[in-house]
Symmetry: C2
Subunit: 641 residues, 2 copies
């Protein structure tokens, strides 16, 4: 296929592209930035460029004026390439990130390396928690003095000298890859380079050296690697702005729905490799979607922070998880060194860094550490609880003096998996439900108000509460009522939430008795684990000042209804705070601050693990919780049905 060379000014970067590609596509593959808000639809008019030389074809549009046309101005997204080109990107079409002030730069660099000890001074109050904005990877633009006979130190020492004029970094390391290209790079680009500094455990590494000033292009990713759901965010490391969030089911689900099944599968021939590929493929797909949607080059994604339960992190890094499930339940590592993302098969900048949030034990992982960090319970004076509702539910009880965590195997029902009409909290998921007590007709609302495609966790909580209140089900979860929405099936009696005709779908959206049983076991596991943990520390629920609820519920969770079904304890409603995906939020904080990274290390060391199954009362507590809301109704005094 014939290729043309397109040279972009003022960067003077060239790329060879096929005929008929758009200038915008060429710019993306050259790593050159052109503004664009409409994803290349020719609407926003932000991608105007000037074609200095060469032949192009352009679709007609109402944006380019006659005067502009005369001056060879084109929309990059609607203009295709038909010869070698020289294209000038005017300032108005270049991404215009704010330049750092000297104060901001100082903060960025002074925080680049923080030890846990340094940050004991962080204020104890939640609202005062401020970590310095010192991201995992920081870019620094340097204009080096040219060498002379009187100043003839080597290129690398010259770079270090310039770097050290900004501050005394603990240990600066540079790989041979960067050193090898240094001589030519400095001379080809008039000694003007951008250095990407990354934190590599207790050292600062020169991750990358690029020509010219690329400080405006510094992106990172944070991920929550869940057993059932994987969520990722693309972050502008300069502005801290979340550019986008994506979540999808973990492709590992094909190998079993819980961590134990996956650990067993990992022991089979190629099992570990398959599980590793499933998680990295899932993540790479999310990354690809995020960067293409937000017009970011993968090359400019310099780092990634991942939190996940201990098994997920083992599988992600191809570490054998076998001993996690064998007494005495020892993982290979809880604290992992900073790695290159490429070592875990993650496609960002080939030299980009990867940090995994440290875990506590085999059954309390870095997702919990991240949750404790982002919830801020470690700074509270009064005892608080963090409940992370996921396939592996984790509960942490503590304050600034102590932190105890336990794990409850809740199953994936509240993530919409393993239940007939379940789905993730994404577009088209039913998240709110109310049922007319007379005719059992259903009102609902969906995420993004799309036609319903299924029911997500918060929808199930609402649905169960409403079915209880309207008498459709009894406290044991059996469907007792009759009506046109209620019918028998092979999976027990089911209740139709939406008929397929009204939602233009292939199948009705339903909930059956097996689903209800599933959800009941999930909520029972979470509630009883919380209750046992409180009892274990010789506390009462009434002594708890705040309960933070985390989980993949999207933006909505009805606390009242979660209490109605006995998922959450019956306490003053003002004590509950719904905080969404706390694991993802924590990994984002770590991505954005080296101090948060140090704090995560400190927290993972501080949290103690409590093994539920050794508590003699656990099984009884659990079976009592297998009712809606509970067998002992005195524990739920405000629940009136």
């Amino acid at each position: 296929m014939q290729k043309f060379k397109v040279t972009f000014l003022p960067d003077n970067l060239s790329v060879a592209v096929e005929k008929d590609k758009t200038i915008l596509a060429a710019a993306i593959s050259a790593g050159v930035y052109i503004n664009s808000n409409c994803a290349g639809d020719g609407i926003c008019g932000r991608c105007k460029v000037i074609v200095n030389q060469g032949q192009v074809h352009s679709q007609p549009n109402g944006i380019i004026t006659a005067q502009e046309k005369k001056n060879n101005v084109y929309l990059a997204c609607l203009t295709t390439i038909h010869s070698d080109l020289e294209v000038l990107i005017p300032d108005s079409s270049r991404i215009n990130f704010d330049k750092l002030t000297p104060e901001e730069l100082e903060e960025r660099l002074s925080g680049l390396y923080s030890k846990a000890e340094d940050i004991q001074s962080v204020k104890a109050k939640f609202q005062d928690k401020v970590f310095k904005h010192s991201p995992f990877a920081t870019k620094l633009y340097l204009e080096l003095p040219q060498p002379t006979l009187n100043d003839s130190i080597s290129d690398l020492e010259r770079l270090y000298r310039a770097l050290r004029s900004f501050g005394e970094f603990p240990v600066v390391a540079t790989g041979l890859f960067n050193i090898r290209q240094l001589g030519e790079l400095l001379r080809d680009y008039a000694w003007k380079v951008t250095v990407t500094l990354g934190r590599r455990n207790d050292a600062v590494e020169i991750v990358l050296i690029e020509p010219n000033d690329t400080t405006a292009r510094n992106f990172g990713l944070c991920f929550d690697i869940g057993t059932t759901t994987i969520s990722g965010q693309l972050i502008n490391l300069n502005s801290k702005k979340i550019l986008g969030t994506k979540a999808t089911y973990n492709q590992q689900a094909a190998f079993g729905s819980d961590v134990i099944t996956r650990i067993v599968y990992a022991a089979k021939t190629d099992g570990l490799e398959k599980l590793h590929n499933a998680v990295s493929d899932t993540m790479n797909q999310i990354i690809k979607d995020l960067v293409s949607e937000h017009k970011v080059s993968l090359f400019d994604v310099n780092c990634i922070v991942c939190s996940g339960n201990t098994t997920m992190i083992h599988l992600f890094l191809s570490m054998d998880p076998a001993h996690i499930r064998r007494e005495p339940y020892v993982p290979t590592a809880n604290f992992l060194p900073v790695l290159r993302a490429a070592e875990a098969g993650i496609n960002i900048n080939p030299r980009g860094l990867l940090s995994c949030v440290p875990g506590v034990s085999s059954y309390v992982g870095g997702d919990t550490t991240a949750g404790v960090l982002s919830s801020g319970i470690y700074q509270k004076e009064e005892p608080c609880i963090l409940i992370d509702i996921g396939t592996n539910g984790e509960i942490v009880l503590g304050n600034r003096d102590f932190l105890v965590a336990c794990a409850a195997s809740a199953g994936p029902a509240f993530e919409g998996s393993g239940v007939t009409s379940g789905m993730r909290a994404s577009s088209g998921a039913i998240q709110k439900v109310s049922i007319n007590k007379n005719d059992f007709s259903v009102k609902y609302s969906t995420i993004q108000n799309k036609l319903p495609r299924g029911i997500c966790g918060s929808g199930y909580i609402d649905l169960l509460s409403e079915m209880l209140e309207s008498g459709i089900i009894d406290k044991g979860g059996k469907i007792k009522a009759a009506g046109k929405r209620i019918r028998s099936t092979d999976n027990g009696v089911e209740f139709v939430v939406c008929f397929k005709e009204e939602i233009q779908a292939q199948a009705d959206i339903v909930i059956n008795e097996a689903d209800i049983e599933n959800l009941k076991r999930s909520k029972g596991a979470i509630y009883s684990a919380t209750a046992i943990l409180v009892k274990h520390l010789a506390l009462e629920f009434s002594a708890i000042s705040k309960i933070f609820i985390a989980g993949g519920f999207g933006t909505y969770l009805d606390i009242e209804k979660a209490i109605n079904i006995g998922l959450l304890p019956d306490l003053e409603r003002s004590k509950f705070v719904f905080i969404g995906n706390s694991s993802l939020a924590g990994s984002r904080e770590i991505l954005l601050s080296s101090q948060a990274m140090a704090m995560a290390d400190a927290l993972a060391s501080k949290i103690t693990y409590f093994e539920l199954s050794v508590d003699p009362g656990y099984m009884e507590e659990y079976s009592q919780a297998l009712f809606f809301p509970h067998t002992d109704l005195t524990k739920f005094p405000t629940v009136k049905f």
Copy 2:
């Protein structure tokens, strides 16, 4: 080809080998150690093994007794494999290195990480220079407590905890490769492992984790990478013993004899790659010879330290040397991070570490730093001189207060290259010569007393001095005498040192006027550089307390004769100390002590570079030195012919 499985006890290590291989060969490829002193000739009787199971053939020998034969004792080197085998290596045949005392262990570890500041206390006197024995890679045998429910920290943290019980290492890093295999390794080998710790710049890295106690097998290499000659040594890092030394011509010589020609070649297509391959191939061949000769497994060679001039180090690491020869003569890097040897194409343990001794400038490299270190001139009270005679001659003048270095392009003549009958200082090289003043008959001695194959540097010094004294050549280097050993050729008049008949060779060993011219320019460059450096510092030769002569002269150099030809200044003979290859000796010190490594860093920063060509008197000084011994005979008052 049919393969048999040989299992070695007590290590319980297996290997698949072809039929007819010896048990000794199988043991080497399994990485199992069996003593052997006679290189497999069946003479030393140290490789006795017991064949528990399987079928073998053994050559008759006088070593195995009838009783031993009954007990299935065989010599591993004379016994071939004819079925699957189980072989027990008795203690008496296992390499028995001394175990470390607790004090030695403490020294080994306390020195593992040293900063230059820590070692300012090193005594200022040369004879007191003692660096701690803390090699670049140190092995530590650990018996970890097995995890229990009450002690369930992760495998990696368990390893770190055990390590830290030996001392507080600055930063401990471990790569994912080691972490991935950790869980299985610890459990398969009853929590008994050997950790190889290596210094990785300012951190300590876990280079390797091996099963069982392998502390006895820890080897390292030091290299002097010269423009013409490459020398390497295999060192037992436990005993500091030099197991062997090998030197050979740098295969890069095919691309030009001096650094400038090589820098020019490096700019051609694939030039840098070819030059890199030439040097790494040369080194790998030396390494292969050393390990096979000393029955060391490459897997047990954990580190390598290299010194060389700046261009050689650039080519070795595939760094573009182009700017070394362009004003203002700036190398890519003088101080290089610790790398993996594999990154430079060196075949030792795949995770083994590589350190290059830091250089001073484009024309004073790490070989000079290593020479300053090993000569100890940096600790002297009075000014001393170090003269390193090589293709790139380096001269350093200084003491504990100052160190100034310059470089003289001497050419490879004294390394036996570019001269008609020249050869390296190796077996069969003529190193001492005397000539009968009456009949010009020649007496000589060769290295290892083999039949002469050529003339090495010290032989040429002797030869020139003797030819001058006997009047065969005049002070300008022209052959004036006549006789049966003197004849005309296309290369000017030549003198026959050995006739081919008397040495059973294809050609006579000769020296002709072109060779003499070559050697004269070499000696003139060295002498004049030394003289200019002394003058530059406003000193006289008489103020110099010691002159250390370094270079690849083997073990012999006649100072008297070197003065006679004007290579060395005419000073009290007791001031001269011949120290052999000081670059190799320095890199060996660095290999054996982290303190020496830190000292090398400090020295490379301290040494200042003096550019000869900017001295207005240099060209005159050089042309005056193009006589034997000098045009100004008052400078050589003791030379009487």
